[in-house]
Amino acid sequence: MKKVIVASLLAASSLLAHSALMSCFDNGDGTVTCEGGFSDGSSASGTNFFVRQGGNVLITGRMDQHSEFTFKKPEGAFEAVFDAGEGHQVVIQGKDIAQ
């Protein structure tokens, strides 16, 4: 029982210690690819990702097995959001995404 508690404490501390990361690029064919990750090198596969414009969520999904998500580039200003939970959100503005 004691062992279980120690293990869960450790897991919690490692979650807090690393930070969520994301980088996006324009594929030049009307699509954008965003890659998610963590500062400790762990995979972001399965982590929530969405694209929003104003207050609306346009696209939502999860990072694939390569920790990537590719989507059709929306017209106008948008934000790509890597959502790994509270305190672990990374937001990239569409205007900052280049080829």
């Binding site: 930070s19 990361l21 994301m22 980088s23 996006c24 690029f25 890659e35 990750g37 963590f38 500062s39 400790d40 090198g41 900052d96 280049a98």
Partner: protein, 264 residues
């Protein structure tokens, strides 16, 4: 008595090589990239601290990048240039690379051995340098199994000035105990437009500070405190298995570049 004699022999050889501290530069201005960026690279063979002589890069045997465990040749990106040092010019190469994927992009260049007339011997410095996109670590700590290699235990692109760099000297993936290592600071700005070296930033109080000689421990590991922001080169001398080229002695060296940042 015998020990003393050996010791002075070692010292003499250190002095000799110290006077001829050549460094294969694989230069790019910024190793910690915030987002996908197309970067400029320069391949120059010179003395990064004193810049008293620029040698000709004899040629490039291979130039690759490793990212997410995938290796790609960059040989077709190389363009010959004339690089101007503060004393003379030498032949080098320029290339560009699109660092698009998040993570580490590890460059390895293997130049054709350079004939050093003064030593009647060849030098080949297998050189590693890496950039990172957006902070996700992927390949920086990999042992690539190169003939001569310094495997970092510190991310070479994430060092504060005043911090340290730790690496392991390897020969074909095996640690080299007590390897002899030379350390130099890139003491000049590199102008990418004119392919030239700027004026010196700092002055060495004495020759031992120009090329600093250190040694790895019994496990081939070394740590060096980085006193100033900028690029620092570490070269382990003659650790590769090839000892002869065109009938002459060959020093097959392992070189790595690391970049420290001011804490401000």
């Amino acid at each position: 008595m015998k020990k003393k004699f050996l010791g002075s022999l070692v010292a003499a050889s250190v002095l000799t090589t110290g006077a001829m501290a050549h460094f294969q530069m694989l230069y790019t201005p910024e190793s910690a990239l915030e987002k996908p960026t197309t970067i400029e690279l320069r391949h120059v063979f010179n003395h990064p601290f004193a810049d008293e002589h620029t040698m000709d890069v004899a040629g490039i045997e291979s130039f690759v990048v490793i990212s997410k465990e995938q290796q790609k040749s960059l040989m077709d990106t190389l363009k010959p240039i004339e690089f101007k040092g503060n004393t003379n010019s030498g032949k080098g190469y320029a290339s560009t690379y699109q660092a698009r994927r998040m993570g580490d992009h590890v460059f390895v260049v293997t130049p054709t051995p350079y004939f050093e007339k003064n030593e009647d011997a060849y030098i080949q410095q297998i050189t590693k340098m890496m950039v990172n996109v957006a902070g996700a670590p992927t390949d920086w700590d990999a042992t690539l199994g190169l003939k001569a290699e310094i495997v970092p235990l510190t991310k070479p692109y994430a060092i504060w000035a005043g911090g340290t760099f730790t690496g392991i000297v390897m020969s074909e993936g095996k640690p080299v105990p007590f390897a002899e290592i030379e350390v130099e600071y890139l003491n000049h700005d590199v102008d990418l437009k004119t392919n030239s070296m700027g004026k010196a930033h700092v002055e060495a109080p004495q020759d031992s500070f120009v090329t600093m000689g250190i040694k790895a421990n019994k496990d081939g590991e070394f740590t060096f405190g980085i006193p100033k922001a900028g690029w620092w080169g570490f070269v382990a001398l003659g650790v590769g298995p090839d000892t002869e080229y065109k009938g002459k002695e060959l020093s097959q060296d392992a070189l790595i570049w690391v970049q420290a940042k001011e804490m401000k």
